[in-house]
Each structure stands twice: as structure tokens, then as C-alpha cells.
Symmetry: C2
Subunit: 277 residues, 2 copies
């Protein structure tokens, strides 16, 4: 059994990501916050952590970029999960009885059109968590409410899936990172993630991308984040397609190090999530 920490209650999409990545042999460790996930892995309370880093509709999960910087963990894998929201009720509760819909504000907004069509009279109630709203529904025995969460949450809390796939856009995928205290050294096709800071002068970012461009190394993602305590200055997170065991990749990173004030390799891991459907 691998002990895997994730944010949210049992049945969260992060738990689904853990199962996609590690198989059914997962011992789930639910955490209240992303920060707790990082701490659990750092202090040995879990073998791995699974955190969302990017959603295909809403973009990056900022706080997890910041936590990558604050902790010394390594990215050892990535996996993607199709986010398929379901409308869940207690057994015997039909749509006509639902007066309130509970879920995380992001899930509610991702299902806004469907919910307006299905339940135009219902109040949307923001909660901290999708699976957590399913749990509350069950624990409080709410017979006038529904929750928006994944199918796994229905199974775990004994709820009925009244309607499946109520998200307004089918292109709703979340990419998750797998975190470990030890780096991975994958064979074959890999992605590498780094974080760096540059002096704020014209052409600085351009010069940082040159070592990759001249070697034909494909960038997968770039993300700028504010540097805490230094208003409107930024650090950059960069994912590129390449294995640390390849010479051009090592050379590009040596070049990059010379051009940055700070550089850290966050991890090198099998390349699973790519372009297109």
C-alpha cells in the first residue's frame, strides 16, 4: 500500500487522480489544505502527495506553484483526470425537492448553465470542497439539497447520482502532479519542471528561453508568479519536454543557470499529459 496525501474529503477528484496513477492499492490520506499535503509528504506522514496544478478551463492552481517553491519536494509524475461533475442527492430525493445546490464555487460555476436549466429555482451554496459537500449532504441528512461532486463521492457517501456529466464544457480536465521527498530518474520520454528568477531588465526572459530554443527543446508550459514581498516582480515556472539524462537538456540547464539569479529543478518525470485530446 502506498500512502497518498491529497486535499479534500474522501471521493475528491484528487483521490481519483491518485488511483489513476498508483492503481487501487492506495491508502488515501485526506488533508484539509494543499499546504497540509505538502507537509504530510515532507514529514513522512505520506509516501506521496497528489495536487492539482492546472485545469484546462480555469488555468493554473496558483497556490500549488507557491507551495512547490516553499517546500523541497520533487515532482515525480503527472496524471490527468477528466472532471465529470454529477448532481448527487440522498436516496429518494428527486429534482423537484431540491431547493439548494452545495459545492465548491468553481464546480458551481463550471455547471452554471446546466444547473440553471435543471433547477432554475435552486439557490447555489458555496462550500470549501466538492466531495465535502456530498459528505455534508449525507451527514446532515439534507432532503431539500443536492451536491455537485464526482461519481466516487456518491459511492463513498451512499448518495444517488441524479444526473451525470452536468459540466457546461466537456473539455474539463485537470492535470495533477505527484510529489515525493525523493527525485525520480525516469527512462525514456520525460518532462522536466524548473523554477527560476531573473533580473528585471529588457530581454531577460528572452535570454532564458534561448538555451531551449537553440536546442529544439519544446516548452510545455510557462507560468509567472509574483515574488512574495517584492511587489510586481516575478519568478517563472517552466515545464519542457526532455529528460535530465539527455546531454542537450543538461547543457540547456547549465546555460540557464548562468542567466538566472536563482534556478531549481523541481523534477523530471515520465511525460504523460500532452497536447490535444
Amino acid at each position: 500500500m502506498v500512502r497518498v496525501a491529497f486535499q479534500g474529503e474522501r471521493g475528491a477528484f484528487s483521490e481519483e487522480a491518485a488511483i489513476v496513477h498508483f492503481g487501487a492499492d492506495v491508502s488515501p490520506i485526506p488533508c484539509r489544505s494543499f499546504s497540509e499535503v505538502f507537509t504530510a509528504v515532507s514529514t513522512g506522514g505520506a509516501d506521496f502527495g497528489v495536487v492539482p496544478i492546472e485545469n484546462s478551463l480555469t488555468g493554473s492552481v496558483y497556490s500549488n506553484y507557491d507551495l512547490l517553491m516553499e517546500h523541497a519536494l520533487h515532482i515525480v509524475g503527472e496524471t490527468e483526470v477528466r472532471i465529470r461533475h454529477c448532481l448527487l442527492c440522498l436516496p429518494g430525493v428527486g429534482l423537484e425537492k431540491v431547493r439548494r445546490v452545495l459545492s465548491h464555487p468553481q464546480a458551481l460555476s463550471q455547471c452554471e448553465r446546466s444547473l440553471r436549466a435543471l433547477l432554475p429555482w435552486a439557490e447555489l451554496v458555496p462550500m470549501y470542497d466538492t466531495a465535502g459537500s456530498a459528505k455534508v449532504l449525507k451527514e446532515k441528512g439534507l432532503k431539500d439539497a443536492a451536491a455537485v461532486a464526482g461519481r466516487r463521492a456518491a459511492e463513498i457517501y451512499g448518495l444517488v447520482v441524479v444526473k451525470e456529466g452536468i459540466e457546461d464544457s466537456a473539455e474539463n480536465y485537470t492535470r495533477f502532479l505527484i510529489l515525493s521527498p525523493k527525485p525520480a530518474c525516469p527512462e525514456g520520454a520525460a518532462k522536466t519542471s524548473v523554477v527560476f528568477a531573473v533580473e528585471n531588465v529588457p530581454g531577460a526572459l528572452y535570454r532564458c528561453l534561448e538555451p531551449f530554443a537553440t536546442r529544439g527543446i519544446d516548452l510545455a508550459n510557462i507560468e509567472s508568479r509574483p515574488l512574495r514581498g517584492r511587489r510586481w516582480e516575478y519568478i517563472f515556472y517552466l515545464d519542457f519536454v526532455g529528460n535530465l539524462q539527455e546531454k542537450p537538456v543538461r547543457e540547456a540547464l547549465e546555460e540557464l543557470r548562468k542567466r538566472t539569479e536563482f534556478l531549481r529543478v523541481l523534477g523530471c518525470y515520465p511525460h504523460k499529459v500532452g497536447k490535444g485530446p
Copy 2:
């Protein structure tokens, strides 16, 4: 009077940004969502819109980048507001009576340490809006609750500021954009914002930054956003320091246009928010 649309209830930080930018002579038009702000300005229901685009602690406001792309509005200005959260109560309600603290989840998380110290026993209740939580406190006459919102909200809703400046970090600033149906043509120091898409091949972003680097044009911000319906492909938002009336800036944009599949100038406006403090 200029009619200015913003998201949130009266007393929101966006309303404060409107007053900082336009002066007291503002006719405020509160909107329920950012999308409504863009629509109000597009359809003539407001002269200008004010939307947050970036916070110094939490980063960019994604949805507003997406709305810039969806609507044909122009960025005609920027302004920054120091986010100073206050703990507000009904008159006569002291800290010892407070059992619940209402606010937007982001405001609650920005004040987490202070709230734990001041009110370790209180439940944190997520709401859609900071100023909106002050309004609810007042309208429902909640004598066992407090709201986290700005000082203006206290004045508007007749609440008492029990404690001012409860945010955990003082470096809490939000940058707002001013939107208009017509472009601005500022004189002097200006910033220009563009959005572009490139083919996903090695070196593509690098080649897009070259026209700026070779002309010594300083980048102020770069942001990648997923392209809707094309999973894990991105468009880029770029702010740079330069006025469209300057020849090097026009040349750089002509060069950029040749290297991109799509390019749109979002606006050129006086450069007010820079490196601080």
C-alpha cells in the same frame, strides 16, 4: 459623472479602485459577475469598467484574462489598491460575541493567521463577496457574526470597524484595469497589452519575445492561458513598457504579428503600476 461598472456590492475593493482612478465623481454600477461588467461596458450600460487583473500575493485573475479575449473592449488605464481587510460588526457587537466570520474565501485565507489569533473559536463561512458579506451582516442583523471587508463597506452599511488591517501580509495589492469601448492614445510613458497565439513548436515563444529584446523593450508581465476547447494549448498575454506612438514599439508589434497565428492589441495606457514599492 462617469458611470463605472464593477463586480461586487457597493463598498467592494473594485469600487475603491474606480474612485482612486476617476475621483469622487463616479456613478457606481455594481454587477454580479465580471462577465456582467464587460457586458455593461460593451452595451453602453456603463462608460467604463474596472476589473482586478492581478494580486501581489495570489497572482492573476484568470477569468478576466479570458473575458478580455471574449469581448472587444480596450484597456485604457490601470490602477493599484492596497488591500486592507477589516473585521466589521454591527454596532454594539464585540469580539467575544462573534461565532462566525463571513467573507470571500480568498479574503478569509489572506487573514487566516490573524483570525485564528483573534477568534480561535469562530467558524469561517465562505461567501461570494467581501462587501457582500458586510451587506448580509447588516441586512440580516447578525449579532453573532463578523465580516471581513474593506473600510468603505463599513461606512456604506453602517458597521463598526472592530479591527483594521487584519491581512497576514502587508504586501497585499491588487492591480485593476480600466476598460472602455474606445481605445486610449496616451502621451508619454505608457504600457501596452497584447494577446497572441503561436504554433506549438520548439522556440516559438522565444521568437515572439525577440522583437522586444532586440529593441530593449521591457516586459512587465507574461501570462499563459489555456485555449478553450484545445486542451493543453495556450495563448499568451503580454504587457510591455512602451507607447504605441513610438516607432520601435510599432516595429516590434509588426515583427510579432509575422511570428504569431493571431495577435490583438488590448490597449495602450498610462504606465502607473510598476516595480515597487
